[in-house]
Amino acid sequence: MTPPVVDCEHHVIVDSLEDLAPHMTASWAKRLHMGEFAMPRSGPHPGTELEFRPGQGGADPEAAAAALAPDVTHVVLVPSQPLVTSGWLGHAMAMVFAAALNDHVVERWLPADPRFRFAISVPAHDGEAAATEIRRLGGHPAAVAVCFSPVAASLGQRHYHPIYAAAAEHGLAVVVHPGGFEGNVVGPAVLGGVGPRTPEDTFCLLPQVAMSALSGLVFDGVFQRFGDLRVVFAGFGFGWAPPLLWRMDAEWRGLRIEVPWLTQAPSAVAAEHVRFVVDGAVERHPGTWALASMLDPGALVWGSDRPFATDGAEDALSGVQDGEARARITGANPLDSFGRLGAQAPAVV
């Protein structure tokens, strides 16, 4: 049997509102047209002016399928533009936009290749509305995750509990990904200090959001409440996590009485529940990979970050010399992280 190779982070781009209008009420479509709605940039990070035209794989499912490496057996589609909505002030519009895009993925992308699975996009402004959207599509056989970018609340807070509960109900992993507006405006998760003033600031400081999120998830006891939940950090890399988890363990030993619901070390909680998509674009230094030895062997998963990444799968994991470790990162670990992938027969093209 072909060994599984799972791309945990393959983005979907939508070029035109016309692709989404059929998936919303006529009045909402009118509302967007009247407001001169512009599709969010497909490369949402500030300073990124990449464009993905049909045929390049960003918005064309058939082209994306044709571009997949032949050994890839499963692809988790993570729509890119709904992530941007953490920076929108119109919460209802964000949900309508994301729901329409979810329907677009189901209708246009899933039929294009049997390897395609998808993460249900849910803007996190309104936990109950997000949960409703998760329950609307959670039963779809190709749904394997939900995906959102953090808003200003810590991921440990009750704000997100309806999302976690709905995801857990359906056995869906939770993918957490930057939205691109972190620190820029009120709404998305904040960065420390005075906030970023350049795109370089933003890129370099994004791990701050992930660090707060991981700390909140573990110390606030989210995994005590939602015992089967898996959270996958995508777009943040992993290099920030090992020192943080070490520090969390050290503080927990002395201050356990503050969080008595943690009956094992934070790093052990994370090993069970949290995964990190390797950011092959920036995590190339051997020192970064040395840090990986501080993580649980199941912690890392591979994602191509297509169409944003300019590298193939091999480059993304260039720091992994050990063949067994590589196979875990591309196969066993993703299958464990996205439980719904394993529940289905491996897709064969």
Partner: protein
């Protein structure tokens, strides 16, 4: 031929010499041993934190938070621990084990006997006075 291991009984004072919750530290055969009176009886431990060697008997004897649901604290008076003054790692007074399993290391503990108003620490080796 086997040699029976005997416990030496070392007198450390009268019951009334002890203040509840406060360790008194003795040199018993070259070993620093702290003895404390609590509402659950006397306990004796070696005055050395297994983490980094602090004089743990300078720490606090207290009940502690036991496992609970998130943000629903459950303080147990019955679970007696000593919290190290250096890093606040907690160890159970009765077993010497790390409470909450923050480490596999444990305190050295000694049995204590109280007889006719006198307190004795039971230690391996030596002769019984």
């Amino acid at each position: 031929m086997t040699v029976a291991r005997t416990l030496a009984r070392r007198h450390v004072g009268a019951v009334e010499d002890f203040v509840e919750g406060e360790f008194k530290v003795f040199d018993l055969g070259g070993r620093p041993v702290g003895v404390v009176k609590t509402d659950q009886g006397f306990f004796a431990i070696r005055n050395r934190c297994p983490h980094q060697g602090a004089d743990i008997c300078g720490g606090t004897v207290t009940g502690t938070m036991v496992a609970s649901e998130p943000f629903e604290y459950d303080y147990s008076e019955q679970t007696l621990v000593v919290a190290c003054p250096w890093h606040r790692w907690e160890f159970a007074l009765d077993t010497g084990e790390s409470f909450g399993r923050v480490t596999n290391k444990r305190l050295v503990t000694y049995a204590v006997e109280v007889e006719d108003g006198n307190v004795y620490v039971m230690m391996k080796g030596g002769r019984t006075p």
